[in-house]
């Protein structure tokens, strides 16, 4: 114990607590209160009218909420299976190579540091029907141009860059986990004749299970918050509100439609859903931690 007297520690923690309270907890609880009000206009002067659970009841008959929820769940599935899955495969491969690991680490992580707005605008140019990159390639191949953001394709096309951008993030986390496994364990395994796939399945994966669990939790909660890239790529849930996620639909209602009370109710729903899913995932993936 470095300090016998704990008081200074609490004093040092106070500024951070004040900042968190002002900029996170107060808005959070205020938002819950707003979800019971009918507020017309952002920053509405004169407050709002108390409407009880009306905003929550409205969600049950709102078709776009259904679309947004479905899209968010789809994104969640993609994030867990594809994003974390690809990241895991890449990390396992890079961990196995002796030279050039740093190069791959940098290259795969790079999209994470590029702003979502820039990626959104870039993919906008890829998908454009007239003169877009993808259609120019098709034209060169003698094919007909494709409407990439059509009713059927749009959600896949919007999800693609979101998934692509964050693979590197999970890749680095998993790779760090793999690097933490002591070399001796592999050496003992080698003596016992365990190599290749068996080594990965019986040694690497169980030892980084906690890291994978963290990645899955981050991917799930991240999917609930997805906003910037889809908003730039397909504003207002284009086409026809079919690419709305819960985050974009909450923004649409609050800032565009200026139905602030309803937007607040949607954000409360996002938080509740996030807590529920995270709790369920933790329960599902409960696994004995291996200490080495």
């Amino acid at each position: 114990m470095i300090y016998k007297d704990k008081k200074p520690l609490f004093i040092f923690l106070t500024p951070a607590l004040i900042v968190l309270f002002i900029f996170l907890y107060y808005p959070f609880f205020r938002n819950i209160a707003n979800s019971f009000l009918d507020i017309k206009g952002l920053g509405a002067l004169g407050g709002g009218k108390f409407v009880g659970l009306d905003n929550y009841v409205r969600m049950t008959s709102d078709k776009t909420i259904g679309i947004s929820l479905k899209n968010t769940m789809f994104m969640m599935t993609l994030a867990v299976v594809v994003q974390v899955g690809i990241a895991l495969i890449l990390a396992l491969m890079v961990d196995s190579i002796r030279r050039g690991a740093q190069f791959y680490r940098t290259v795969f992580f790079f999209p994470v540091v590029v702003s979502a707005t820039a990626i959104g605008l870039m993919f906008n140019l890829f998908y454009a029907y007239n003169g877009g990159l993808f259609n120019q390639i098709l034209e060169k191949l003698g094919k007909e141009p494709v409407l990439w953001l059509s009713d059927k394709l749009a959600i896949y096309m919007v999800s693609l860059p979101v998934i692509w951008q964050y693979v590197g993030f999970y890749f680095v986390i998993i790779l760090t986990g793999l690097n933490g496994i002591p070399e001796e364990i592999y050496e003992y395994a080698l003596i016992d004749g365990v190599t290749g796939f068996k080594k990965t399945w019986y040694i690497s994966l169980p030892l980084i299970w906690d890291v994978i669990k963290v990645c899955i939790t981050l991917a799930i909660t991240g999917s609930l918050k997805v906003f910037d890239l889809p908003w730039v790529l397909a504003p207002n849930g284009a086409p026809k509100g079919l690419t709305h996620f819960l985050g974009t639909y909450m923004y649409f209602n609050t800032f565009i439609s200026q139905s602030v009370g309803y937007g607040a109710a949607i954000s409360v729903f996002i938080v509740v859903l996030g807590l529920f899913v995270s709790f369920t995932v933790n329960k599902l993936f409960k696994h004995e931690t291996i200490v080495y």
Binding site: T14, G43, A44, G46, A128, A234, K240, S259
Partner: protein, 435 residues
């Protein structure tokens, strides 16, 4: 001792945190100017007054440079007034920022903002001061503004609050060179419009540049206007909607089925389709007078009123336009004895004939009786002529409807054009949200 140091450190951190939040610009009184240094007899320097102004003349607005020059001229002429200007491009986020500033007590002193539905809550909550009130003390306030322009500024309570500078009109801008190339007549009636759409479609040119996912606003207003005429267009549907609104909106499907719009009309952005028009890849675009600022070849563009639909009640010359924004003085600035005079001076400077000439030279109609700008382009001439010939001029529908109802209507256009929703279904919901 350790405890004392810890407590002092925490105090210092906390104080610096809040000090950072408290934006207190250094007073110019503190730094004497060279002129002051040279003065032999010390005379009290006039008190420096800071005005916080907010406007939409920011970003790529074609009047941004003129606006900044006018501010500089004003500060040169009034050295004791410092203008802290916060201009940005006007969009929904900017509007929300302005209302949030007012609601959180961070009222700007002068704001160039919209009128009608957008200004209603500012007026209802006494956040801005009326021109009638200002004129009791400053009879020359807004004296150069024409009665016609001022009539558009009248609010729900019968008072006027904003001083306009430039009006706007909306019309069907046509790349006349493309019409000439394919031997087509300009769309002065609905039949000619349909003929042009079919021909351009055949020739691989997008007939009408439009984006339903981004800005279908102009087409909503104009199709309702073309079908229902001036009287029906003026309706604010709070209890029911006129039949003509549903009929007018049904033309979205008619036009889409004819191939009038880009293939990706439901997903593309307004900037992209506007560039298609500028680059002659699209023949027509329905937009406001502000679009002229970005035209590469304005001599080859003309603007016409949208023709009435078959059997529609609109007069062929009638247009949507008017004055929908102006300078407001906040009640806070008006009640501050130091700022009142400075704010009035600033607005009078910005709404003088000289300033209005500068604003009007880009596009739109001037709010004062000033000579026509020199060297105006063909399309600007066509716009002025269209405004002069208009039998009726009405403001856009969204200046009357609630934001929620209007947004719902806007976001439903793609589904109406594809036949997935009927105009009646959408309008019933619009009325519910507009109550």
């Amino acid at each position: 001792m350790k405890k004392l140091v810890a407590v002092l450190l925490v105090l210092a951190m906390t104080v610096s945190l809040f000090a950072a939040c408290n934006k207190t610009p250094a007073s110019s009184d503190a730094t004497p100017t060279p002129e002051n240094k040279e003065t032999s007899t010390p005379t009290p320097a006039p008190k420096t007054i800071e005005l916080r102004t907010v406007s939409m003349f920011g970003g790529t607005d074609p009047s941004a440079a003129d606006y900044q020059k006018l501010i500089k001229d004003f500060m040169d002429a009034n050295p004791n007034i410092v203008i802290n200007d916060e201009s940005a491009t006007a969009d929904e986020t900017w509007k929300a920022r302005v209302t949030t500033d007012f609601s959180s007590g961070n009222d700007p002193d002068v704001v160039f903002y919209f009128t009608g539905a957008d200004a209603k809550q500012l007026i209802e909550n006494g956040k801005v001061v009326s021109i009638e009130e200002i004129r009791k003390q400053y009879p020359d306030y807004a004296k150069d503004i024409t009665d016609a322009a001022m009539s558009f500024m009248q609010e729900f309570d019968g008072n006027h609050y904003a001083v306009p500078i430039r009006g706007f009109y909306e019309g069907l801008f046509c790349n006349k060179d493309l019409f000439d190339k394919y031997g087509l007549e300009l769309p002065t009636d609905w039949a000619k419009l349909e003929t042009a759409i079919k021909k351009f479609k055949e020739e691989g040119i997008v007939p009408i540049a439009a984006s339903f996912s981004d800005v279908p606003h102009y087409w909503i207003e104009h199709l309702i206007f073309a079908e229902g005429g001036y009287e029906d267009h003026k309706v604010n549907p709070t209890d029911t909607y006129p039949e003509s609104w549903a009929k007018g909106l049904s033309y979205f499907k008619t036009l889409k089925d004819l191939g009038a719009f880009p293939v990706d009309v439901n997903a593309t952005k307004n900037d992209i389709v506007t560039n298609m028009f500028y680059d002659k890849k699209a023949a027509m675009i329905l937009d406001g007078s502000w679009i002229i600022g970005g035209m590469k070849e304005p001599e080859t563009v003309v603007v016409l009123p949208v023709p009435p639909t078959p059997g529609g009640k609109k007069d062929p010359t009638s247009i949507i336009g008017g004055f929908s924004s102006g300078f407001y003085i906040s009640t806070n600035a008006w009640n501050d004895p130091d700022k009142r005079d400075a704010a009035v001076k600033f607005v009078m400077h910005m709404t003088s004939k000289n300033a209005i000439s500068l604003f009007a030279k880009v596009a739109g109609a001037p709010a004062a009786d000033v000579p026509a700008p020199e060297g105006i382009t063909e399309v600007m001439k066509a716009g002025i002529a269209m405004g002069g010939q208009a039998k009726e001029i009405d403001m856009p529908i969204d200046s009357r409807m609630s934001k929620e109802a209007w947004t719902f209507l806007v976001s439903s256009i793609g589904a109406i054009a594809d036949g997935q929703l009927t105009p009646e279904e959408v309008l019933t919901e619009v009325v519910n949200k507009n109550k």
